[in-house]
């Protein structure tokens, strides 16, 4: 059975990301009608969903909206969750599509100025690393959204090109190309004086 959200089937890769298997149990519980399983989904995937939404939309307010929309879709489409074979990829794909939809709606409405967005976080509370993270975030803001998303999924979230391709719905070659071009552009942006 193929999972369908909003009437459109979601393409699934033949493999699952490492943390995705742990989503199978809460997905089954949601399909069975247990609303408390949403919390478990958040614990496993909340940060990842927010990250992909932020990388794609480029600002925190939109990323918040995307994450909430994903949870609405997850709950309202719970009857289809039994047929999801790769929950992790599926969830990230839903977030990616919701982010694209939201970005399009925003583009139609008005071009909003981007705020001081933190695309990356430094481990721990080292102020030097925090400053580096802010500098990197500023550079990432200069990338086109597809490249920023691909680079971040690859080098921050640790996904393979195949997984990035499955999440973003593009051929693997395109995903790899976005990563390569994005990284080259990021290096150029980082060469600028601070």
């Amino acid at each position: 059975m193929e999972a369908v959200i909003d009437g459109s089937p979601l393409p699934m890769a033949g493999e699952e990301i490492s943390w995705g298997e742990s989503l199978q149990a809460p997905f089954d519980e949601l399909a069975a009608g247990n609303v408390a399983a949403l919390e478990e989904v958040w614990e496993i995937a909340g940060r990842r969903l927010y990250a992909i939404a932020l990388w794609r939309t480029g600002n925190e307010a939109d990323a918040r909206d995307v994450v909430q929309e994903v949870f609405v879709k997850l709950a309202s489409g719970r009857h289809a969750l039994k047929g999801v074979s790769s929950p992790g990829l599926w969830l990230l794909t839903v977030a990616h599509r919701a982010a694209i939809d939201l970005t399009r709606r925003r583009a139609v409405r008005a071009a909003e100025p981007l705020g001081d967005t933190q695309f990356v976080a430094g481990p721990g509370s080292d102020p030097h690393r925090a400053a580096e993270a802010a500098w990197l975030s500023d550079a990432l803001l200069g990338l086109p959204a597809p490249q920023r998303e691909a680079v971040s999924l690859r080098h921050l979230a640790g996904h393979s090109f195949r997984e990035i391709a499955a999440i973003t719905g593009v051929p693997t070659f395109t995903a790899a190309s976005r990563c390569r071009l994005g990284l080259a552009r990021l290096r150029k942006l980082l060469e600028r004086p601070r």
Partner: protein, 112 residues
């Protein structure tokens, strides 16, 4: 992959309050959809007692009609008497040319 400027950094933490907002949105979505999804049209048709009765009645009626109606007499072989005569010109066109009339006669001679 390790030589990138992003080495040692992590995805950002969700802002405070997003967890509750997302769970609240999920609960709203949960409540908006009924617990049991309405079956599709084919399932409803399959489960419908009147539809099943109508189907059974039509099968019985067809069977009864098949047995009750008199059979038509067997038709004989088609008569050639009424077949229109072939126009000789059309016949000449329709006749396939032989590669060799002699070969054909030799072949028929061998057979006889």
């Amino acid at each position: 992959m390790n030589d990138t400027p992003l080495r040692g950094f992590e995805p950002p933490e969700p802002p405070p309050g997003l967890r509750e907002a997302a769970l609240q949105a999920g609960r709203r979505g949960f409540a908006a959809v009924p617990a049991v999804r309405a079956p599709d049209v084919w399932t409803r048709l399959y489960r419908s007692r009147p539809a099943r009765l109508a189907w059974a009645a039509s099968v019985i009626l067809l069977g009864a009609l098949h047995l009750a109606l008199p059979r038509r007499p067997q038709a004989g072989p088609p008569s050639t008497a009424s077949a229109p005569r072939l126009d000789p010109e059309v016949g000449a066109i329709a006749r396939l040319p032989r590669i060799s009339e002699q070969a054909a006669s030799a072949y028929s001679g061998e057979r006889s």
